[in-house]
């Protein structure tokens, strides 16, 4: 197959460009990719923020590897930080101190690395929340939601392995908890711990092993998943918020080239700048305060970085005994008695496991309950999907209660309350909080939808009170414009679908269960305004009392 290249460049640059283009076909890619349209909304940019943080992590991390020595060999610190001079510690800790105090720009780079790690996971989380609450995970994007979830887990893994590397007191305490959780796993736990630490905790192997994971495996997996994630974004095209002219079959926005390429490039440097500014001004993880790791001391205020906090919080909330009931079970076996430490095993694995399981399964759960298998490229306003928004809020509260529990000691000292009371309250909220959040959020969503209906049918309250010739008072309502009305009336409306019989006329038990959940989710519902309703409202317009008189038209 030969293609004749008719084009002959007249300038030197042109010839060079043509040489490259005729060999790699870049112009085709630019033509294809440069014309991709991305819709404009601030909430669409958190994924981008996470990606830029990741680039920063790679850059600053590479700098740190030039100076960091991940060895647990014992050395006596002789660097320039006086309060630790002459103290024995691991080489990892000593080289971290050297990076902080004796390498030019080292402390700044350490802080850039750590702050961008925190922002990386934070923006990832906000990105996922945006995707969830707007329903962007629906067909065809279910798999990309799963890839995103795995990316979040890999982000946590990257964070945790990195957090442990300096071998300071704080990170050592964190590893000790991991050791405890491993050992709580029945039967194989002690072996897992022995394999992971290369002997008894802390051993001399764990830091180099974590280092290999932290700088090779985990980032490689993240890059791989990131590529898959972006590839799918390009394949699926970006979702958009509903609005006039925006349909399920188009994307309204700006093309990548030149607008988005410029904006995104600029945005990278903005994120870079924000993190550099924070890192220059605000201290993070001062390992010199914590001192070298030693298994005996545990400092007050020992917490993991924020993204692991919810697991730490769950551990803090779990009681060891409940009245006379102990959560530590000794199960007799022929070879002796084995211990099942539920007070560690349950909080360490169950809440996080449940959270991620529901998160990953949610697109399929929703599809099953709503029987909605259509492609969705238009996003939901959160209020227009009360069941989903309420479930999300319940999940957020469930997470946040555990998250807050990780700082129970600081809540106690800073708000002058008893630590025990904080724990009791949070234990209560652990169970009741999600239920309250679900109920409250759904009521708020339904009320907001009712308000939308009111506005569509009766217009916006103008705040002008008119007196009729008869002397009656009424408020003037201004009709909203058609664009706004379109936004308020055209939304994806889920109804309760009763149990459907299959081809043989039989209603399966699973289908009955689905119907029950569907009823729970969609029994209370505010339907979008129909054209006939709107016409009726318009016909009756012009004589509104100060108090609304059309309440009966709202529910169902």
């Amino acid at each position: 197959m030969t293609t004749t290249n008719e084009f002959t460049a007249s300038t030197k640059t042109g010839r060079l460009a043509d040489f490259v283009d005729s060999r790699v076909g870049a112009s085709g890619m630019v033509k294809e990719f440069g014309r991709k349209i991305f819709p404009d909304h601030w909430s669409f940019m958190f994924g981008e923020v996470a990606m830029y943080c990741f680039v920063l992590l790679l850059l600053s991390g590479t700098f740190l590897t030039f100076f960091f020595d991940p060895s647990m060999a014992h050395v006596v610190y002789e660097g320039s930080y006086v309060p630790l001079k002459g103290i024995g510690m691991s080489t990892a800790m000593a080289s971290t101190l050297d990076i902080s105090f004796d390498v030019r720009g080292g402390l700044f780079m350490r802080q850039v690395h750590h702050w961008s790690a925190l922002l990386f996971v934070a923006s990832l989380s906000v990105h996922m929340l945006r995707v969830f609450f707007t329903g962007a995970f629906r067909r065809p994007r279910e798999l990309n939601w799963v890839v995103g979830g795995v990316l979040l887990i890999m982000g946590l893994a990257a964070g945790f392995t990195g957090y442990s590397l300096p071998d300071d007191l704080l990170s050592g305490n964190g590893l000790r908890i991991i050791d405890g959780v491993m050992k709580a796993i029945p039967v194989v736990g002690t072996y897992l711990s022995m394999f992971f630490f290369g002997g008894e905790f802390p051993g001399e192997h764990v830091i180099p092993r974590l280092y290999s994971l932290h700088i090779m495996i985990v980032p490689a997996v993240i890059i791989l998943l990131l590529v898959i994630h972006l590839f799918m974004v390009v394949t699926h095209k970006h979702t958009q918020y509903p609005g006039p002219g925006r349909t399920n079959d188009n994307v309204v926005g700006f093309p990548v080239g030149p607008v988005y390429a410029a904006k995104a490039g600029g945005f990278f440097f903005i994120i870079f700048g924000i993190i550099a500014m924070i890192s220059g001004l605000v201290q993070i993880n001062p390992v010199w305060n914590y001192g070298p790791y030693d298994p005996s001391p545990v400092s007050a205020g020992t917490q993991p970085d924020w993204y692991i906090g919810f697991v730490d919080g769950a551990l803090r909330l779990m009681p060891g005994v409940l009245g006379n009931f102990s959560f530590e079970w000794n199960i007799p076996f022929p070879w002796g008695s084995n211990t099942l430490v539920l007070s560690v095993l349950l909080p360490a694995l169950v809440p996080a496991g449940a959270l991620f399981a529901v998160m990953f399964a949610w697109p399929w759960i929703e599809r099953w309950v709503t029987k909605d298998n259509r492609e969705h490229h238009l996003l939901d306003r959160p209020r227009n999907a009360p069941f989903r928004t309420a479930m999300g809020a319940a999940g957020v509260v469930f997470y946040s209660v555990m998250w807050a529990a990780a700082s129970s000691d600081l809540i106690a000292t800073h708000f002058h309350v008893a630590l025990n009371d904080v724990t009791y309250w949070l234990r209560t909220l652990f169970f009741l909080g999600p239920i309250i959040a679900f109920w409250l959020t759904r009521r708020i969503c339904l009320s907001l939808q009712r308000k939308d209906r009111e506005i569509v049918l009766h217009g916006r309250e103008a705040g002008i009170i008119q007196m009729s010739p008869e002397g009656g008072f009424s408020e003037k309502h201004e009709e909203i414009d058609v664009y706004k009305r379109y936004l308020l009336t055209s939304f994806n409306d889920n109804k309760y679908i009763p149990a459907q019989p299959d081809a043989a006329g039989h209603i399966s038990r699973k289908e009955k269960r689905r119907a029950k959940i569907s009823k729970f989710f969609f029994e209370d519902r505010v339907a979008p305004v129909t054209p006939s309703e709107l016409e009726a409202a318009h016909a009756a317009h012009g004589h509104h009392e100060v108090e609304g008189d059309k309440q009966d038209s709202i529910e169902k």
Binding site: D40, W42, S43, F44, M45, F46, V49, V82, P83, L84, K85, G86, I87, S100, F101, L107, Q111, L118, L119, A122, S123, L169, L170, K263, G266, F267, I270, I271, I274, I278, G280, V282, Q283, I284, N285, P286, W288, N289, Y290, G291, D294, P297, V298, S299, A300, G301, P304, D305, W306, G309, S407, S408, D409, L410, A412, T413, V417, A418, L419, N420
Partner: protein
Amino acid sequence: MKALSTKRRHPLAAVALLLFGLLVTGSLYIAAGSISEAKAAETTTASQSDIDEGGKLFVANCATCHGLKAQGSDSGPSLIGVGAAAVDFQVGTGRMPMQMQGPQAQAKPVQFNDEQISQLSAYVASLGAGPAIPDEESLDTTKGDAAHGGTVFRVNCAMCHNAAAAGGALTRGKFAPTLVGVSEKHIYEAMATGPQNMPVFNDSNITPDEKRDVITFLKTIEANGTAGGIALGSLGPVAEGLFIWTAGLGIVIAFTIWLTSRPS
């Protein structure tokens, strides 16, 4: 003397005389001051009159809870044998007299002057042997070893007071306060007497030299400041997480809104 008398009408004579006079009075004042200071140092071993005065102060301010003879009551422990250091710490930091009953006495503005505090200490010390107020020698941070003090601190103190001495929570409303800004003497006395919920670190547990090392460590990290910038209260990852979720994400969101806004 002739040379002097010929110059007595010199324009600067009055100035010279004034300077001479100031110099003499100044030196006399310094001399007198150092003599009285020396006297004060000698009288740290209390006189009987101090003990008597302290007893009066005790009956007026402390006996309600600690009993008329410091034997203790339902509302306060016995003070026989707690030593002068305990009184000097509790009263000197304003924790005693207690503002109200609670999980632990809180620091508040000091209620007595130095003389009254030393009289009270003398009185309580006279009731039974206990830890004495430390001398200058054991508080001299120029003689301490900050690095060793740091190790002692991390092993014995950091679990309650936080590795950066920022304080921490204990059970049921009790807490370990921050050690930033606490005087050398009070840190020493706290270790020796174990005020409120703190354990006693006696001289065989942490030797006086090690106590001085701990004080040196605390004063060194206090004087060093924070190497990396704003410390966020030295509270560790919680404060850092809070910062990135509020300030960090806040700035990011402000920029995203700016970038996606366009005049329509």
